[in-house]
């Protein structure tokens, strides 16, 4: 039971990093990113492939962040020129292209067969110890990321971010460069998603295109909405509730043993869909918000 | 008979009140001017009458019927027609379609023919999309669209804004003739002097309140009015 809780906490921590990144995108700069899972996938496969090639974990993690952030640069340059709706579609398409490349390039990624045997750190600590150590790593990285975002928000750069969100025109007239600010924020958020991908890859130790479908992006959107956009404290709450919903559906399985795997996946899909609709309709500012849209 | 009766109207968007307690009346076959500086709340008043602002309270009646209880699409049925300040035609519809699309007209074909008689410039271009019209033609189409339902009152929001001087005279001329065909007009205008000259009465709005009102003649003669709102002599 305890090890199960640890597992849930690790997954929750990974979603919390993803949500933090998305919150940076939408909550702080208003960029609608419907392709978050693309950055997650890049980070996951990058770190997995590098460590499988014998590089140390640290290098894998760093590469995960770097690659995701670098890919975000051209996408961001395109994105900031687009209308909201186009942006949503383009980012969604970006993540699908990433998934298609992963599916097609079997020599590199294993294609639909997947990529097994991804190394897991802390092997020397025994089975239980490694789990706890991994949880520690996830929590520590979350802590660092939160600190980073917090510092960012409080820094002159962060005030610039808020100014971009509130009044882009005034900012331009002050001679500031809102485009540059938005791009940098977009890259940082993507880097966080890449890091989350690396943490996921080394925890699950197996990757396949099935794990990077657009549904994951909307898991993260849901977590952000539950927590309330633009609020970092809400991120943890949202990610926590998301994991409870995802894992809770497993208990449904125990109650009704006849339910098949595919049916379970559909039920989860329906629950996420229902949550999205209900939150948008009735609690657009999140669980702790007052139900009025900003 | 009183057509439009507004008492203590408060209206606005979001949390702010823009119109902050206005009393206005328009009687049958009367032309009434509402003047006021930029941002005084004139357009907001017009939108409130038509039901297009999120919040509006007070008394708002037309021919004795409570407009506040009606949806915007039902308000024209009691006899009020509206020409907005901007975007007052459907750009992708042709001239004829702009007139056909109006709901609540008894005999569309006959009424469209009447309108094209009234505005000959439109008749020549009846199959042209409204987006291709000149400013003056567009304003004529907006008038024609509003007149389709044979309203008792026209609500005109700055009908002469952004028009060249000779077109301005033409528009005022059209308004002046409205009472003859049984239509009253509530004209919102920044060209207060010209508008008051064809009006029976007038109101002056400032910061969402009517600060002056009276017969058009008296307002035109008022020294304070001349100073503040008529732009000198």
């Amino acid at each position: 039971m305890l090890s199960y809780l640890v597992a849930i906490a690790i997954i929750g921590g990974i979603y919390s990093l993803l949500t933090l990144g998305l919150n940076l995108h939408y909550g702080f700069t208003g960029l609608i990113n419907f392709g978050h899972v693309g950055f997650f996938a890049l980070g996951a496969y990058a770190s997995a492939l590098l460590t499988l090639a014998g590089l140390p974990f640290a290098a894998g993690f760093a590469a995960a962040m770097l690659i995701a952030a670098l890919v975000a640069l051209p996408l961001g340059l395109l994105a900031i020129r687009l209308r909201d709706d186009y942006l949503a579609i383009v980012t969604l398409g970006f993540s699908e292209i990433i998934r298609i490349v992963i599916t097609s390039e079997e020599w590199l990624t294993g294609g639909v067969q997947g990529l097994p045997g991804i190394p897991r750190p802390f092997g020397g600590l025994g089975v239980g110890g490694a789990e706890y150590a991994y949880l520690g790593l996830v929590v520590a990285l979350n802590g660092l990321a939160f600190l980073l975002v917090h510092r960012l928000a409080a820094s002159p750069f962060g005030r610039l971010i808020k100014a971009v969100r509130d009044n882009e025109v005034a900012l331009v007239s002050l001679g500031k460069d809102p485009v540059g600010v938005k791009i940098r924020v977009f890259m940082i958020g993507a880097g966080l998603a890449g890091l989350a991908g690396a943490l996921y890859a080394h925890y699950i130790t197996y990757l396949s295109p099935e794990q990077v479908i657009p549904l994951v992006t909307f898991y993260v959107w849901m977590a952000m909405i539950i927590g309330g956009t633009g609020r970092n404290a809400g991120v943890v709450l949202g990610a926590g509730i998301l994991v409870l919903i995802l894992e809770g559906s497993r208990f449904v399985r125990d109650l009704f043993p006849g339910v098949l795997d595919t049916e379970m996946a559909s039920i989860r899909l329906a629950i996420i869909g229902l949550c999205l609709v209900l939150f948008v309709l009735f609690r657009p500012r999140g669980l702790i918000g007052d139900g009025v849209e900003r | 008979m009183t057509l439009l009766a507004i008492e203590q109207m408060v209206a606005g968007y979001g949390e702010i009140d823009i119109v902050t307690g206005i009393d206005i009346a328009v009687h049958e076959k009367e032309i009434v001017t509402v003047a006021g500086t930029n941002g005084a709340g004139k357009s907001t008043l017009a939108k409130a009458i038509m039901g297009l602002v999120p919040r509006c309270r007070g008394v708002l009646r037309f021919c004795g019927e409570d407009l506040l209880a009606m949806r915007p699409e039902d308000r024209i049925k009691v006899g009020v027609a509206y020409v907005p300040q901007v975007e007052n035609v459907f750009p992708s519809l042709t001239i004829v379609e702009n007139l056909q699309v109006v709901v609540g007209v008894q005999n569309h074909a006959a009424r469209i023919a009447e309108m094209l008689d009234l505005f000959p410039a439109l008749a020549a271009r009846r199959r042209v999309r409204a987006e291709a019209l000149s400013g003056g033609e567009r304003q004529q189409l907006a008038f024609a669209r509003a007149l389709m339902t044979q309203p008792k009152m026209m609500l005109l929001d700055e009908p002469t804004a952004a028009l060249s001087p000779n077109l301005v005279a033409q528009v005022f001329d059209t308004i002046r003739k409205l009472p003859a065909i049984g239509v009253a007009a509530l004209v919102i205008e920044q060209r207060a002097r010209q508008s008051l000259e064809i009006s029976d009465r007038g109101y002056v709005l400032d910061s969402g309140k009517a600060v002056m009102s009276g017969a058009a003649r008296d307002l035109l003669a008022d020294a304070r009015m001349a100073d503040l709102y008529l732009g000198g002599a």
Binding site: R83, Y86, L215, L269, L274, L276, V277 | E73, E87
Partner: protein
């Protein structure tokens, strides 16, 4: 590539392009009048195809009746979605409506999975001999699909441009507030819009299902190419949707021998990104109007 292969691919491309075009048409109708990209479009199409399969399961082999069932079911579904969700979101941000439509897409797909199962289904089309034109195999069923798709488009245009309700739809698309003050009951126009959209989705879902197989993911897979076509053709433009859909379908098919099956799906998207990089407002500008 020899000529026969080329023409075969071209033919497939036209059919695929018509399917993309129909889906894009459904997207653009909603976009023009209700002002949001309806990501549930694809999954509504899927429901239509399954309605047809259900009718087939009853022993009714008439494709026309199956198509009719698909259309009716999709129309009903669209009106229900509007009444339950989209109407309540009027005046809310684009993102809010967009997310709600994603949620609805998930719910619909999950329901299809749970009710119909993950297995592939096929429409039993009576086999007819292919017409051979110089090595190009033209299936009569393909011809019928093309005729149906064009017929559906013709009906949409007739409704939009020849009927009073179509005129009102275009008026609401142009300017909702002015439409209301012209006495147009926007709610009724929206119901008509969703009925029309549902009909297009029903036909599109059936054409897709007959052309290939029926699977729960069918609609979602066509959504991205349809979005690409919608943007390329000018968001909100019905004509543009069809032209761009055809172009994308043909390009996708013709490129298959070179890029392989999986990448052909990515192709329409790469095209979209390239076009948007050059022209951020789409190929024909931002025509947020029914033209």
């Amino acid at each position: 590539m020899n000529a026969a292969l080329f023409f075969n691919l071209l033919l497939n491309g036209v059919i695929e392009g018509l399917i993309i075009g129909l889906a894009a048409l459904a997207l653009n109708l909603v976009f023009a009048v209700a002002r949001f990209p309806n990501t549930a479009t694809g999954d509504i199409m899927t429901v239509g195809a399954y309605a047809g399969i259900a009718v087939q399961g009853l022993g009714i082999s008439s494709t026309v009746l199956q198509m009719l069932a698909a259309v009716v079911v999709c129309m009903a579904l669209c009106v229900v979605l509007y009444r339950l969700v989209f109407r309540r979101l009027q005046g809310r941000s684009m993102l809010a409506v967009l997310l709600a439509s994603i949620g609805l897409a998930f719910i619909i797909r999950a329901a299809v999975f749970l009710i119909a199962g993950p297995e592939q289904r096929v429409f039993q089309i009576p086999l007819q001999r292919a017409i051979d034109i110089g090595g190009v195999a033209l299936q009569p069923s393909m011809l019928w699909l093309a005729v149906t798709a064009f017929g559906c488009m013709a009906v949409v245009f007739a409704v939009l441009f020849l009927t009073p309700i179509g005129r009102r739809m275009r008026a609401v698309a142009d300017n909702r507030a002015l439409a209301r003050t012209s006495g147009i009951d926007v709610d009724r126009v929206m119901v008509a819009l969703w009925l029309l959209t549902g009909a297009v989705c029903g036909v599109a879902g059936m054409v897709l299902g007959i052309n290939t197989v029926v699977m729960p993911e069918n609609g979602w897979n066509i959504l991205l190419p349809a979005f690409a076509a919608a943007v390329l053709g000018g968001v909100g433009s019905p004509v543009g949707a069809i032209v761009a859909g055809l172009a994308l379908g043909i390009v996708q098919e013709l490129s298959t021998p070179f890029v392989g099956f999986t990448y052909k799906i990515a192709l329409s998207f790469v095209a979209l990104i390239v076009i948007l990089a050059i022209r951020p407002r789409g190929l024909f500008g931002a025509a947020v109007k029914v033209r």
